[in-house]
């Protein structure tokens, strides 16, 4: 039993990794713009379709899908930010509703192009098989290992962009004090656009690596997006650590509880815990305290 739970725990890491990639994008956007993008799940879905198209029509394997999805979905994000979100600046609830409209349009658009059928994408052959981890009763798939490494790499890249580059410095300045950032000559609209594109691009990447695990369909992204909203609620904003912790707690708890009881009970328990936690910490666990 302990062995089986440990195995689930390991599997949980790959779930955490995917959730982390999705939530990173959402957290960066929410941190800078205080906007919840209801179409985030559909950006995931489009990322998966990018992988499907590359594999099905061009015969390119999944590795190609990662940069392609980032660029395609990032470009869509740029358009959405430019065409819609900046017009609703300062009205977070309206933005949320308008992006729901975007979500409906994207889903229908994909249905029109690809039809409502489920699609399948294969993981790269090189990642077939798995590695045996002592103490676990199943081999740990190379593909899951790849997901974890990719997530860590993206986490590092995000950290590096935010904390080690001039652009990241501007982003953090906008996050902390938008008017003052403008006073210093920072083009905050450009920052908003690029941040939104980057966050969307990450969702696209997540979609690509989800494609071989899940069946690809127009509605596949929604539940992941909801989980990542919960990550933001639990982890708070303003720090990557909060996002990592939120994703880790939610991803692991859902996986292990799903194994012990079942999927839905796991979700229900995690949700209950989140609601109770924010009763104590309404700003989430890791928000910078400032007045």
């Amino acid at each position: 039993m302990a062995q089986a739970i440990f195995t689930q725990f390991l599997t949980g890491f790959s779930i955490v990794a995917i959730l982390l990639i999705i939530s990173l994008g959402l957290a960066v956007i929410f941190g800078v713009m205080r906007v919840i993008n209801m179409a985030h799940g559909d950006f995931i879905m489009i990322g998966a379709y990018v992988a499907f198209v590359l594999q099905g029509f061009l015969g390119l394997n999944l590795f190609w899908g990662i940069p392609a999805a980032f660029l395609v979905v990032g470009a869509i994000g740029l358009v959405v930010e430019w065409g819609l979100i900046r017009r609703l600046y300062g009205r977070p609830l309206e933005t949320l509703l308008a992006t729901w409209g975007v979500s409906v349009v994207l889903q229908q658009g994909i249905r029109l192009i690809f039809g409502p059928e489920l699609r399948y994408v294969r993981a790269p052959l090189i990642l077939d098989g798995g590695i045996h981890v002592p103490g676990s009763n199943l081999p740990f798939a190379y593909f899951r290992l790849f997901i974890i490494i990719l997530a860590l790499a993206l986490l590092f890249i995000t950290y590096w962009l935010l904390y080690r580059t001039d652009f990241g410095m501007s982003v953090r300045a906008v996050n902390q004090n938008r008017p003052m950032a403008e006073v210093l000559g920072i083009d905050t609209r450009r920052v908003d656009g690029l941040v939104f594109a980057f966050g969307s691009g990450l969702a696209g990447v997540a979609g690509t690596i989800l494609a071989p695990i899940k069946t690809v369909s127009p509605i596949m992204g929604f539940s992941y997006a909801v989980d990542s909203y919960m990550v933001i609620v639990l982890g708070g904003v303003g720090r990557l650590l909060g996002t990592v912790a939120g994703a880790a707690v939610i991803g692991e708890a859902e996986t292990v509880l799903a194994f012990l009881y079942n999927n839905v009970i796991g979700k229900l328990l995690v949700f209950t815990v989140i609601v109770l936690v924010i009763r104590v910490f309404p700003q989430g666990l890791f928000t910078l305290q400032r007045r």
């Binding site: 001039d166 410095m169 501007s170 953090r172 300045a173 902390q176 004090n177 008017p179 003052m180 950032a181 403008e182 006073v183 210093l184 000559g185 920072i186 083009d187 905050t188 910078l288 400032r290």
Partner: protein, 232 residues
């Protein structure tokens, strides 16, 4: 041609009408001080110039160019530096990062030139400290240094001595005079402390209820004027 020319601006804050067809012009190389009691619109005037609270009517010309509808970041790049009331240092960024952000407005490389630390020697040991952990006086110096990093031609300062101990006030005074002399920066200053204003500036403008009430050379800021417009 004046460096900054304000032509009859009306500025609102929400529904409240703060500046009433206010006109003002600042010549190149001047140090001018805006005086007036609290709530007469001094801060709003500076915010109108930098663009944070753009006027609804009237025009603002900087270097002969109409900037009335220009976005804040473009004005900054055009050469207007702004040190707001309360300093507004980025609390979670280091002093060095705060200064490097200041370089953006100057369209310059983001390395902070040594000359900045010549002006503000006490910032050198604090370079890696988080902005939020500094004292008020240190923050004020960072704020001025940051604005200076953007190589402004016009520097707007909102109560730079507010809540700051006398020794630091003296340093700020010396720095402002040096900036003016050596870097040929024109300075527009909002100030409550009369002595400081007298020592630093050449011209003064007194505002009353969103309008210019008096404008003259600092020498003519007599006690009668002070009693009429400024004393409690």
């Amino acid at each position: 041609m004046p460096l900054l020319e304000i032509k009859g601006i009306d500025t609102f804050y929400g529904a409240s009408h703060i500046l009433h067809s206010l006109s003002l012009s600042i010549d190149q190389g001047e140090i001018e001080c805006i005086l007036g009691r609290n709530g007469v619109g001094k801060t709003t005037l500076l915010r109108s110039i930098i663009g944070l609270t753009p006027p609804r009517r009237g025009a603002i010309l900087f270097k002969g160019q109409d900037v009335t509808r220009m976005r804040v970041n473009r004005r900054a790049r055009l050469g207007i530096g702004y040190v707001p009331q309360g300093r507004e240092i980025f609390p979670d960024l280091s002093v060095m990062d705060n200064l490097r952000l200041g370089r953006i407005a100057g369209n310059a490389t983001r390395t902070v030139p040594d000359e900045i630390f010549e002006f503000f020697p006490m910032l050198k040991p604090l370079a890696d400290r988080r902005g939020g952990l500094l004292s008020g006086g240190e923050q004020q110096q960072v704020a001025i240094a940051r604005a200076l990093c953007g190589k402004p031609e016009l520097l707007l300062l909102d109560e730079p001595t507010e809540g700051i101990q006398p020794s630091v006030v003296q340093e700020i005074e010396a720095v402002l005079k040096r900036i003016h002399r050596e870097k040929k920066v024109t300075i527009l200053l909002v100030e409550q402390k009369l002595d400081f204003a007298r020592r630093v500036s050449q011209e003064f403008t007194i505002m009353v209820k969103g309008r210019v009430a008096r404008e003259a050379n600092i020498e003519s800021l007599t006690d009668d004027v002070v009693r009429e417009y400024l004393t409690i």
